[in-house]
Symmetry: C2
Subunit: 429 residues, 2 copies
């Protein structure tokens, strides 16, 4: 029976029971963190071989003869470009290899647009108003970058197929101050949705009012599947934009942060020739080049996209039981109660939970009080403001499956309690 259909007496009785359970749970002294998409130590072990693949006896030269120990090759070694292109589903000539952080590339793209403009357009710092569209729920660190640069963020609702493209088209094609949109197109953060072919094609076919509008296409989970037999696929945005006569409107980002080691991986940007030419001119001023030995380490270890696919299955083996632990508890405990909805993603790092309106903050606080840390409620919205106070991001990667089951038990308990309180307060007050 849905909680909202229960009588006041039944709700109060249930609440008493759940309060007792909560008191007991609190007594257990849990200390679990489901707040960030951080791999577990066991998952990091999957990539340990990366530490052995090159040493002082190795030929430390790239395929084109470049000594990876010295200056040079600002754009990265050819085989690293090929590997990262394959991850993104594009071709190496569209790719520049950066350092260890794709977030850093995104920041730099916004920062340079702000200080110098894009392809001859007015620098954003000279304009009164700059806006970005932000599909919600979304990734807090995207929003943090645009907020830092004083860019107004406009939420756009997400669906299973991606952002609401009617709204996206309306803003992008009519408002010249809309300069960008943040996208996690595959296994989106936090919902795990993958943009449909139609969504990708509508992105490629945008007719932006602003010449310097760019899609910030953060392909963070391109090969991060949870299952062998059920995998999402996505169209290549770069070639779709080319086909649509819009080659310059997209910047694509990827990294091996959740493939090899977070912080010690390699990151890449993919874009059109015109965009890359401009970026190269600036990059040569900004850095002496990125770590080519680490690029070499990665390509020697993974070899090619097939090596990567085999590797990602090992990650999936670690991740799947954790996702299933959460989903099993949610299904068993919350189905049919009408107090929350969630998704069962096929990849990525998160489960997105939507509580009853006005309950997310209270649920997160109640979990915290009993030792389970969740991502801050609101974090998945621009300015940390979820207008419905409903969305909660669950990150199952760091704890063990057993800990995830424990944490989920507490989570559903808190969802039930907070929901009952909300119903009592609104319906029976």
């Amino acid at each position: 029976m849905q909680y909202s259909e229960m009588s006041k007496e039944d709700l109060l009785a249930l609440k008493q029971e759940l309060d007792a359970q909560y008191a007991e749970a609190k007594g257990k002294g849990l200390k679990l963190d489901m707040s960030r998409g951080k791999p577990s130590a066991m998952q990091l072990d999957v990539s340990l071989g990366l530490m052995d693949v090159i040493n002082s006896s190795s030929r430390l030269a790239a395929s084109d003869g470049t000594d990876c120990r010295n200056y040079g090759m600002l754009e990265g070694i050819p085989e690293a470009k090929k590997l990262m292109a394959d991850i993104m589903g594009t071709t190496p000539e569209h790719v520049i290899i950066y350092g260890n952080s794709s977030l850093n590339i995104m920041y730099d793209q916004v920062s340079r647009a702000y200080s110098h403009g894009i392809l001859g357009n007015t620098p954003w710092c000279r304009l009164d108003k700059i806006k970005f569209l932000c599909p919600v729920p979304g990734y807090d660190r995207h929003f943090a970058i645009t907020e830092y640069f004083g860019i107004e963020m406009i939420p756009v609702p997400m669906s299973q197929d991606g952002p609401d493209m009617d709204i996206v088209e309306q803003y992008v094609n009519q408002d010249e101050s809309v300069k960008g949109i943040w996208c996690v197109p595959k296994y989106s953060n936090p919902q795990g949705f993958t943009y449909s072919d139609e969504t990708v094609r509508r992105f490629a076919a945008l007719k932006p009012a602003a010449k310097d509008f760019r899609i910030f296409w953060d392909n963070a989970y391109a090969i991060h599947h949870l299952y062998d037999d059920r995998q999402d696929e996505i169209l290549d945005i770069i070639s779709e934009c080319e086909k649509a006569g819009n080659p310059d409107i997209v910047f694509e980002f990827a990294s091996t942060s959740k493939i090899s080691f977070p912080g010690s991986g390699i990151a890449a940007l993919a874009a059109s020739a015109a965009n890359l030419d401009e970026i190269r001119r600036q990059l040569t001023l900004q850095t002496i080049g990125h770590d080519k030995l680490n690029q070499l380490r990665h390509v020697r270890y993974f070899q090619d996209i097939n090596g990567l696919k085999i590797h990602m299955k090992k990650h999936a083996q670690q991740m799947r039981p954790k996702f299933e632990a959460v989903l099993n508890v949610l299904d068993k405990e919350l189905s049919g109660l009408g107090i929350g909805s969630w998704n069962a993603p096929r990849g990525g790092y998160f489960i997105s939970f939507d509580a009853m309106e006005g309950c997310a903050k209270a649920i997160v606080a109640k979990c915290k009080e009993a030792g389970v840390t969740l991502t801050k409620a609101g974090a998945t919205f621009p300015y940390g403001n979820d207008p419905k106070d409903s969305n909660i991001r669950i990150a199952p990667s760091f704890p063990t499956p057993e800990e995830m089951a424990q944490a989920s038990d507490l989570f559903v308990l808190c969802v039930k309690l907070v929901s009952i309180e909300k119903i009592l307060e609104t319906k029976y007050a």
Copy 2:
């Protein structure tokens, strides 16, 4: 006898002889590059052990227990801070570890000052005019950053003791639009001069008209000595600024680019607590953190400052013969002719040569024609404009000592020829 005192006939006779030598040299088909401060392959071999120091069997945790394979520790691991602090002669609490490129840190410092301002002051992009002082000759990549941000560059003459501090004080203490100065305080690029204690103290005691004035102290060659017995020392700018009541006026930079591997080293920033607090707030938006495994690799390999000193002696063994090869030829061939002056540095990567006025471009072109590439004439000045067309930067690191001797023979030949032409043109025209 000085060339300028020779008769026209004698000069013409000498020119004929030198022309013949030049024609012969051209026939040799030399292909040597003295243009960049790039280590040779043999020099890179000195650091090969770095490739073996951590592997899959190693404990990949920092001294504080941080798993270096995962996210976290935005500022770098404690032992890396200590190592980089020791290189700069400061203490770890003043240090943030970055990625592989100190140039990238400098760029980011300018970029953030431009977009967001420093410690609450107006962002530079909102000001009509921003100026930087540029001790000359100096480092072209510094000048390239300030030029990219539209910052007006004002040359300040260098001496053996550092920049002309009367001029520096006059500008900095009186002109609010002067926001920075580029310094390579030790074994300066290209002259190899080291700032005297008085110079450092006068820097620390500046009373800038602009609250957001900063000294950009690029301590690139802090431990890059050529000799065991003759080494320059420099005062610690961070503590000198503290003592002078000016803790916030300096950003110091260093890297292991020319200690371990260029492009695969680690880089660091040192600054006051107030500066670091502001930088941390932005850095957390910009990146997921830097490569801690590479930090670990460096600290495990070098251990401490003593390990570094022993290591740098190996570099010196490679570099010294190359410097001496150049200096021997210059001394033997050009002394007393009055057509050039140069320095004999005790460290760093360069020899600075000052030709007769109006001769540098022609000398560089003449060398190029015979197969020896030098740094572009003018590169050591802002906007690539050496008003006297006199300074030439010689980078002896990449070729072998034998090649350096060959290249130097050609260089002095070109200096002689171009000087004679200049004298004939100006005195006997």
